[in-house]
Symmetry: C2
Subunit: 131 residues, 2 copies
């Protein structure tokens, strides 16, 4: 692992954020001001192909990269914000439902995040009100 590959891996793993290539680029710059965007692409692709990071493709938003540890995502339909949540035994449940060997899965549950909720209703609700 080169210093850049290591730094990028750590940036993606350090937080529970879900960063785009551009955002990783912005985060690595302070420490390595000489780095170039293509290097970030190269290393992110390498980490992804080696199964060291996850790629999240969400309808309407740019690809984002994430840690490998098992967890699922809530996605704000409006702003794309991702929030982690856990559906612990989903892999086994899925394996029972399908013939093929389940290698992994990607579950994205679309909702409105609190901010976008507020913009729509003008109020913050503790819980989403019933329609």
């Amino acid at each position: 692992m080169t210093k850049y590959e290591k730094a990028i891996f750590e940036i993606i793993n350090a937080s529970h954020e879900h960063l785009t290539v551009e955002q990783v680029f912005e985060k690595i710059k302070p420490k390595y001001p000489k780095i170039v965007l293509a290097t970030v692409y190269n290393n992110i692709n390498k980490l992804y192909k080696n199964g060291q990071i996850r790629k999240l493709s969400t309808e309407g938003f740019m690809d984002r990269y994430d840690r490998m540890d098992k967890h699922d995502h809530l996605v704000c339909k409006e702003c794309g914000k991702l929030i982690d949540f856990n559906f612990d035994d989903l892999t086994e449940i899925l394996q029972k439902k399908v013939q093929n060997k389940v290698l992994y899965y990607d579950l994205q549950v679309f909702t409105l995040c609190p901010d976008c909720q507020k913009k729509k209703t003008g109020f913050i609700h503790e819980k989403t009100p019933l329609d």
Copy 2:
């Protein structure tokens, strides 16, 4: 609904295929040879925004468009091929797990399709063998 919008909607709904914009363009051409790619983009975006078709974003593959009726997807990790399957009460299960109101979800279960399976092993298995 204009004739193009209608034709595109029908192409996407007619089959259980999962078509890219380009593929929809190829499918509509025989009937409407004058149509232009931008029109396909315009109408697909309109249908999508109006909730009349689904957009499937899969890591590593181009966006594909699909019917709205509730179903889930197996995705071949290698070639991107999509196969429908049903996890009937997943919406309700998810709603019990998360605070926010579940608007909809996208579940993609990654496997190897029979063809890619074959390329890897040289054999077709009725069921995926245990590792």
